[in-house]
């Protein structure tokens, strides 16, 4: 994890980001930690829209998952990914 941040910090930060994405775009996004095939939930939305999940890797260890990427403007999505890449 970069910048000396802890898992607790990540969860806090990402929960806020996920909350805003839900509020602004009605998009459910969650952060997972990757362990081989296992993608364990770490933070973010717990609700879902029942469509196939699309996984975007942030690093070897972390990924974002959502069925709602199409609802989020590309610029905003890239902004979130860049921010997390720096953070993780």
């Amino acid at each position: 994890m970069g910048n000396g941040t802890s898992t607790f910090d990540i969860v806090q930060h990402f929960s806020e980001i996920a909350g805003r994405l839900k509020e602004d775009f009605d998009a459910h996004v969650w952060l997972v930690e990757i362990f081989g095939r296992r993608h364990s939930y770490l933070a973010g939305e717990k609700e879902d829209t029942f469509l196939p999940p699309e996984i975007i890797k942030i690093s070897d260890r972390y990924a974002l998952v959502s069925s709602d990427w199409a609802k989020i403007p590309i610029q905003k999505r890239d902004e979130v990914i860049s921010f997390l890449k720096e953070f993780l």
Partner: protein, 500 residues
């Protein structure tokens, strides 16, 4: 007991338990199983009135974990009519949380070396009637080729005894090997997509090793929650004699980031009502400390094993009637948890218990070491931990399930897209996971029918798929249904592993 261990085994035995990894979870120096309190609650809630029982059933139908008092009241019901209401509620809860799908899996016994000496276990160290063996990685690969390539399983429970030859590093290699196997099938390819493990309690560091290679669920049974009985059946000087090391292994798994854990008790070692309460207290403590309850619960009954007279001697054997009651009460008490009924039980009992809230079953089960690749069909007690009650093939079981109105699911989607831990708990408790269950059941069942079904099972399977698609069309938003149809078509054309 220790003097019969080799030097390597002795060193291993001394190094496993880490008291500091237990102490942090204790409350006032005690574990969460208070034997007196459990008996006091069972006694206090004797003869519950009908109204009270019906209120408890209502609470359970809202997918809320019951309190120990409420569970004790259910265990004390005597009125057959009330039991019928409990059984009906159990079926309803299962449908709410998981819909009408049954997930299937196979056990894969990788080795039966064990440093422990549990009185009820065919694999106990001092049992000379058992042939000892650990599969090499190449032998393991051959087992998986059979399971994934010929039978069609997608999910395994990998089982090992507790031994330095099959420690966490070895099991991590085994997991990697299993995940690597990919076999050509009639219309696509077969692969094991989720490997759950039933192994000894481990330290956080060892559990992190397994986490890093993509472990599915970490399953450990407490065997009995009753302290005194536990001491009696697990001889002093063995690792397993440490009650709390075992009791808190799921806590350690969650701490290590393995956020799918499975509980179980071996029914027949002590009073079945006490064990049900023990499982409930266990679930409550996990929820309290981590916000995550058990992914599944198992409730095996003691079965005969080679040269294991303890099994015949126990005074706590559970009758079929009580077995059904304990399944239904567990379904109501911990309504979000998956419930596993294995092939230990005879086919008829499995048939009768299925509607009481069962979510997972094994089939084409072989529990001898190396038994799948050896293709032997007769049970051999000297190769097995115990004797199976149901040796039917997966094809036969699936056909029967379809006739009973259940769709077989090979879904392994959840743990590959973050439907784990707190998130899966939320989805289960709100009944939303059932939607994923149904969609993924249709897709994975389609795969299996196209790759492995006999003509008779194919016929029954097509009927159930047709019914499921119709139901989804009526109940789900159109965009979800359309996406399902797209994936369904792609699977029919040979694509595999598409999921919601």
């Amino acid at each position: 007991m220790l003097e019969v261990l080799t030097e390597r085994e002795k060193t291993y035995t001394k190094g496993v338990i880490k008291e500091r990894e237990i102490d942090k979870f204790l409350i006032g120096g005690r574990d969460f199983i208070n034997d007196e309190e459990i008996w006091e609650k069972i006694g206090k809630n004797a003869h519950p009135d009908k109204e009270k029982v019906r209120d408890i059933i209502e609470k359970s139908l809202e997918i809320k974990t019951l309190s120990p008092d409420e569970t004790a009241a259910l265990l004390n019901v005597n009125d057959p009519e009330l039991w019928d209401e409990i059984f009906v509620a159990a079926a309803e809860i299962k449908k709410k949380v998981y819909d009408n799908r049954i997930v299937t899996f196979a056990p894969l016994y990788g080795g039966n070396l064990c440093v422990n000496n549990c009185l009820y276990c065919g694999f106990r160290r001092e049992n000379k009637a058992i042939k000892r063996r650990v599969l090499t990685l190449e032998e393991l690969r051959r087992e998986v080729e059979m399971l994934a390539g010929k039978i069609g399983h997608k999910r395994l429970i990998l089982v090992y005894g507790e031994h330095p030859a099959t420690d966490a590093r070895f099991i991590a290699e085994a997991l990697k090997t299993i995940y690597e196997v990919k076999v050509k099938t009639k219309n696509g390819f077969g692969q094991i997509r989720r490997v759950n493990v039933n192994i000894a309690p481990m330290s956080v560091a060892d559990l992190e090793l397994l986490r890093d290679v993509g472990i599915g669920t970490y399953q450990v049974f407490q065997e009995t929650y009753h302290h005194e009985t536990y001491r009696k059946v697990h001889p002093d000087g063995t690792i397993k004699s440490h009650y709390q090391w075992r009791l808190y292994c799921h806590h350690r798994a969650l701490e290590a980031g393995v956020d799918d854990v499975a509980l179980g008790a071996l029914f027949g070692l002590y009073d079945w009502r006490f064990e049900v309460m023990g499982l409930l207290y266990h679930a409550i403590d996990l929820e309290r400390q981590f916000g995550i309850g058990p992914h599944t619960i198992s409730f095996p009954r003691l079965e005969p094993a080679a040269n294991t007279p303890y099994i015949q001697e126990t005074q706590y054997r559970v009758s079929d009637a009580d077995f059904k009651k304990l399944i239904a009460v567990l379904r109501l008490a911990i309504p979000y948890a998956g419930m596993i009924l294995t092939a230990r039980e005879p086919a008829q009992i499995r048939r009768e218990c299925l509607p009481l809230g069962i979510t997972q079953m094994d089939a084409s089960t072989r529990i001898g070491i190396g038994a799948y690749a050896d293709r032997y069909t007769e049970q051999e007690s000297e190769r097995q931990q115990f004797l199976l009650g149901d040796t039917r093939s997966l094809d036969e079981v699936i056909r029967e399930l379809a006739k009973m109105g259940y769709i077989t699911s090979f879904c392994t989607a959840g743990y590959r897209c973050g439907r784990t831990g707190e998130r899966i708990m939320t989805l289960l408790k709100t009944g939303k996971e059932a939607i994923f269950c149904k969609l993924n059941a249709v897709l994975t069942f389609r795969e299996w029918l196209d790759d492995f079904a006999s003509p008779e099972t194919q016929k029954e399977g097509e009927e159930i798929i047709k019914k499921e698609l119709k139901e989804i069309k009526e109940r789900m938003p159109d965009n979800v249904y359309q996406k399902l149809l797209e994936y369904y078509g792609r699977i029919k054309n040979g694509e595999r592993d598409l999921y919601f």
